[in-house]
């Protein structure tokens, strides 16, 4: 097989079909970028789960002076109630890993820090903030054990699981990821149809050459290779653009826009990008090559 001959065939084929080639490059780039971003979002959710599930706590808020839940009808929590709650928490070890008591003063200090730049600070006074137990569970999914033991008990205003708040957030991210994935899959289907059509047009516009090739006994591989390479090259260019889009997403959208504004959480690292890039290139070239191969089998029969 003469590489130079094949290369010149591929080059002239790409140029002859310039608009179709561009269309394939663009759809491959767009669909794979979306596909890559959806994979990146999933990696982001995993990163955040790792980061947050280690830190989440169950908060047991105790009754403060003005609390109006039925369990706080007796007024602020008494010292006896507080000691009993603590003792009961201790008895739940080893499920309960750490117990930390936050007093009203500490709660107020944290509140002041959190809302340092907001006028709200001046309107809230210390006694309105509840004291609380912060409980870290060995297995955060066992939240119900704590909730059923403590919620509604006299002296306890509310039992709050941070994990449930996080899960809602993760579900939202998961939903966004699913939407991106669905659009990506639809775009990939469009890409496949476009490649099929491009190959059909290419096979038709070169039917003279391929007809002669068949007659003089060129092998199927020799006849089809320029077409297959053409499909693979345009898909490859599209996939490289998609990898570029992914790198841009990571370096600009994540590192420069999101990370500085949300410093409290972790973001995906470059290892995720490095992991996704080859998937994009393989999916792009593989899908386009397969579509081309199946089309050519029909249109360039011996």
């Amino acid at each position: 097989m003469r590489a130079q001959f094949v290369a010149s065939e591929v080059g002239s084929g790409l140029r002859r079909n310039l608009t179709m080639t561009l269309a394939v490059i663009i759809t491959v780039a767009v669909s794979l970028t979306l596909f890559g971003v959806s994979l990146l979002v999933r990696a982001q959710v995993d990163t955040m789960k790792d980061f947050w599930y280690d830190k989440v706590e169950v908060s047991i808020f105790l009754c403060a002076k003005g609390s109006d839940t039925p369990s706080c009808a007796g007024g602020a929590v008494t010292a006896a109630q507080r000691d009993q709650i603590e003792a009961d928490l201790e008895s739940l070890r080893p499920l309960v890993q750490d117990i930390y008591y936050e007093s009203q003063e500490e709660a107020f200090a944290r509140f002041q820090e959190q809302f340092a730049n907001s006028p709200i600070v001046d309107s809230v006074n210390e006694s309105a903030l509840p004291e609380s137990f912060r409980v870290k569970l060995a297995d955060p999914t066992q939240y119900d054990v704590v909730a059923s033991a403590f919620s509604g008990r006299p002296g306890i205003e509310q039992v709050n699981d941070q994990r449930q708040v996080l899960d809602k957030f993760f579900r939202l991210l998961g939903g966004l990821q699913a939407i991106a994935l669905i659009i990506a899959v639809v775009m990939l289907v469009v890409t496949v149809l476009l490649v099929v059509n491009t190959m059909r047009v290419a096979a038709f516009s070169r039917r003279r050459e391929t007809g002669i090739m068949r007659l003089v006994g060129a092998s199927n591989l020799y006849i089809q290779l320029p077409f297959l390479l053409e499909a693979a090259v345009s898909a490859g260019i599209g996939a490289i653009l998609a990898v570029g889009g992914l790198i841009l997403t990571k370096s600009v959208v994540i590192d420069q826009i999101l990370a500085p504004s949300f410093q409290f959480t972790a973001f995906v690292g470059w290892d995720a990008v490095v992991g996704i890039a080859p998937i994009l290139i393989l999916v792009g070239i593989g899908l386009s090559g397969l579509a081309a191969f199946l089309t050519l089998r029909k249109y360039l029969r011996v």
Binding site: R2, F5, M213, I223
Partner: protein, 229 residues
């Protein structure tokens, strides 16, 4: 060389077979005319030899191979041993004479040095020396057919198939093409040629096989086009 054993070819969605129970043997080194009116099955016969079509019934042997048992990937090897020429020349319009002939060698992976050596040789055989750089539209019909013959012959095939090669040419030019095919035959290549042209057949006095409605109705060595004339 070629053996048809009660071969029937019925194209899809057709009621009449294009070829019906045709049996015929062509020996090595022969020159055979395939004659008959349009639609009698001449092109179908030649396409079966090239394995472009498969028979509906019966067996075709070409160059010692049973084509019904030949797997798809072996077809290119078969076709490399058969040269083909058509009425419409089938040249690539944007390639020169040299490139058109070289193309047939490039696509079967022949090395460049070999191509540089054999293409000028075959162009001399067909009488096109000096016209290597011309494009097909700068050549007469007869010259274009010579390019096609050069391309078919450049691999020195054992068998040459020509489907109405003079169909688009005037009588004077046709004679030149026939002389060329005769020369190729004398160089050892078996030639099977379909034609309408009674004058050519009558002049050459070679074997004549006549088809009518897909049947072999006459097979005559040193024959003429038809009894009627």
């Amino acid at each position: 060389m070629i053996l048809f054993d009660t071969v029937t070819k019925l194209y899809p969605n057709q009621t009449r077979p294009a070829l019906e129970e045709a049996s015929l043997e062509i020996e090595k080194g022969e020159f055979v005319f395939l004659v008959g009116p349009s639609g009698s099955g001449k092109s179908t016969f030649l396409r079966l030899v090239l394995r472009e079509e498969r028979p509906t019934a019966g067996n075709v042997w070409v160059l010692g191979k049973d084509l019904s048992r030949l797997s798809n990937w072996k077809i290119p090897a078969l076709r490399r041993e058969i040269g083909t020429v058509f009425q419409d020349f089938r040249l690539l319009p944007n390639k020169s004479v040299f490139e058109n002939v070289a193309f047939a060698l490039e696509v079967i992976g022949k090395p460049k040095a070999h191509i540089k050596k054999v293409v000028p040789e075959v162009l001399e055989v067909v009488g096109l020396e000096g016209k290597e750089e011309r494009r097909p539209d700068e050549l007469s019909g007869g010259e274009q057919q010579r390019v096609a013959i050069a391309r078919a012959f450049v691999n020195r095939p054992k068998l040459l198939i020509a489907d109405e090669p003079t169909g688009n040419l005037d009588p004077g030019t046709s004679v030149g093409i026939m002389k060329l095919l005769d020369r190729i035959n004398r160089l050892g290549t078996t030639v099977v040629m379909s034609t309408h042209d009674a004058q050519i057949v009558d002049q050459m006095r070679r074997r004549v096989v006549e088809l009518e409605h897909g049947h072999v109705v006459r097979d005559q060595s040193r024959g003429v086009y038809g009894y009627a004339r």
